[in-house]
Symmetry: C3
Subunit: 336 residues, 3 copies
């Protein structure tokens, strides 16, 4: 009780402090602005000094004592980084096998020049979209669990809880890889390899006396998936910016949820469409199944497609309404 | 009076708290750093926990009560988003009419493949530069109003006040669209449509036995407007970053104004020049007025050009000095 | 003593306030959430109002008094901006001389169209990597100084201290220029000049009846340096984001140092490799030494290479261990 009272008074203090700082910034108060201005200035400078990174960059600037005590090193990021690393390694090996090893073995054609950019740029989008899917998978799983249990008042298994706690990190890593993927893709036509290919294509076209090599199908496919990819990246960028501490702090629950959930699913939808349109009808053409391995876009878009479709099922009236009730606190009779 | 005193003490408290936190971060104090370090650590962790978004992403994580109370949803963004949406729709229809419908009707040529990227990429810059102009238009209007009234001590009409209050949002939307425009433009040469066009051009050049198709005029035009566009985007990026809460908080009035006003007008100038150089001398060539409609770059650069020229007029000594006096509090005798 | 006590109580107050705010955000506490939610809401709104930039953009919104008092204008940025400007001017003149003036004089070939993009895009990376090197040079110098003096308890010369205090600004400028460099490079193939060059190359290839112009060496060179450049930019982006006030505030000493030092040196390494692979074996081909001036990539990668190699030397066991001891407070007997 005593504690409560103190709390509330403290709360008032903070509120008042904030208001007071606010008053300083109030630009309407022309009277006594000079003094206010100065006070605000000094206050702001203190804040500024506090905000602008006050940490030393060089080891020797550290107090000697500190280097002894072991500070934690990004505990929240260990799991996401491990997931990302393992995904990148496996996708890299898979792509290397299909794009470099296979032609070398079967046609003894050396395409190893593809490794630095073309292979990299299959690894990046694949990992990126998979990470993005893992951001929204736990929420879907939790919803299914709640529907099954018929209540919200029972704890989730630890692995699910831990997974949920690193969704932000997974999303940010996915965004970073998506940006790199965009730059890699944009760099294609500036490469020498592309130029030489173009020149030899031109040469062949002239030799074959083919006036126009226009393939409407290819054109449409590319225009659409490039556009979808750019829009997806734009949406991801908005989400990433909104999760900066100082920005997300300025949101209320509803606003934050609107961005992180609605925009998030929109981004996942755009990226999955981007992958599927990129694939176009490759998935029916046998020549893309080198050594009986499916093209990477199929494997890449599987998980996101599953997440999206399950989410859609959960939004169906019948299930949606029940989930709604459960989340408002309703419990199925004799649940558990 | 009593209130005043309390305020001042509270102010001191806050200042002291901040200083104290600062002391913790002070890396010179080698003595007693261990304990300080720990305290600073614990304090920082509390802050951290507070700063890193503490909001739930999944509905069911929300307290049941909260979903009942209706929180506001980005009240500041409604107007800017509506403006942007309407601008995009109208520019889209205009471009669609000129670039897709007209060739279809007159030459029955199907250019619908242009919609996903080429049409989009006329809508984006057009909307972006218009939004950027609307950020600086109200300031100009307000200045004119003050010159007319001869005083600063009279309220602006509500619409102008409301407009001024959403300039930040308008600017950020303009920046987002500008970034998308940049990515869309950079993606041009990687598209199949571009490749096929190149090949057929090469074919024709060989057939016409034309050794070099160099058009100095075209080259210069493109080099300049691409360079101007990139620089404009760079300036916009600096302004956008500087308007992040935690960054802008670290500025004083003069610094913030210097960035938001001087850099802002510089960006507007660069983008308008970008649009005009893009147009080059299209505005005199009749063939660009399909169905008697002016090319979009003309319509796009009208508003920014007006804003910039009015601003320049307002900076002329005669008007500038009077505006200066008014803003320092001077009033025209018997104004009102 | 009295002061100490008050301090500690104040510290407790702040800690409690923060905790209290935290409690409000605690989503597990379903009981009394409504009221908590509201309080948190109101508190958050106050913060929000405080955080979202409360500064006026138009002059007349300023209190009349304020314009009189002279606020500082980015004191921390003066030196870095001056350094950047002088670097850009000198590199611009050097590149202009080599790429535009020399061909004009010797072969009376007018390449002035190169100025807006091609020359700019040699100035940007050169300045960027030099600035990045200057971020890590002072740390290396300080380490050497400490090894020489055999103690950490003696002040650095003022110029070194001042240099160290603007490393953040130098790094951010370097990142900005690196981004511009990336966009400029990506815009190469969309330019008319590139298109016309391609067409004439295709023409020649057909005339020379050369089926394939593939130069494996060139291809490898470009694939590698483009890839290295993109990765370098990605690492720089992570560092830049981590130095946003609200983000860096959420780190502890070790985390911040890990990012700013390890990632920083990684970025410097990647960018230097990017420059050297770009140069490939140009540095042995005499034709690249027009008017006896070395190609810019050599001059650009000199400083970073020096910084990196000295850093590596300092990491050698013999020196590294001694440096370690010194930084833990050990002093060479009768040092000074």
């Amino acid at each position: 009780m005593e504690q409560r009272k103190e709390d509330s008074t403290l709360k008032d203090n903070v509120a008042e402090c904030l208001e007071m700082l606010e008053i300083r910034n109030d630009v309407e108060s022309t009277r006594t602005t000079e003094v206010c201005g100065q006070e605000a200035q000094q206050l702001r400078e203190t804040c500024q000094h506090l905000l602008l990174c006050p940490y030393p960059v060089e080891e020797f600037e550290l107090p000697t004592s500190l280097r002894l005590q072991e500070l934690p090193l990004f505990p929240q990021w260990h799991l996401p980084l491990k997931v990302m690393a393992s995904l990148m390694v496996s996708t890299f090996l898979y792509t290397l096998l299909r794009d470099v090893v296979q032609p070398l073995v079967t046609q003894s054609r050396n395409d190893s020049y593809k490794i630095p950019i073309l292979v990299m740029n299959k690894v990046l989008p694949w990992t990126s979209i998979t990470l993005l899917a893992t951001v929204y998978l736990p929420g879907v799983l939790a919803a299914i669990l709640q529907l099954h249990r018929g209540t919200k008042y029972s704890h989730f298994p630890d692995w699910l809880g831990r997974w949920m706690s690193v969704r932000k990190q997974l999303g940010l890593l996915s965004f970073l890889l998506a940006c790199l993927h965009a730059i890699y893709s944009l760099s294609y036509p500036m490469r020498r390899s592309y130029r030489y290919k173009m020149l030899s294509w031109a040469y062949q076209q002239v030799k074959q006396n083919k006036e126009d090599a226009w393939v409407a199908d290819d054109v449409w496919r590319m225009e659409i998936y490039v556009s979808l990819g750019i829009l997806g990246l734009g949406v991801l960028a908005v989400i990433a910016v909104s999760s900066l501490p100082s920005v997300s702090e300025a949101f209320n629950w509803r606003e934050f949820q609107c961005i992180q959930r609605n925009l998030g699913y929109l981004a996942l939808l755009l990226c999955t469409a981007h992958a599927l349109v990129f694939g176009w009808r490759k998935w029916v053409e046998l020549k893309h199944y080198v050594w009986y391995t499916p093209p990477s876009f199929i494997l890449a878009s599987l998980l996101p497609a599953v997440v999206l479709s399950v989410k859609m099922v959960l939004c169906l009236p019948c299930l949606g309404r029940r989930l709604e009730r459960i989340r408002r606190g309703w419990e199925r009779p004799h649940s558990q």
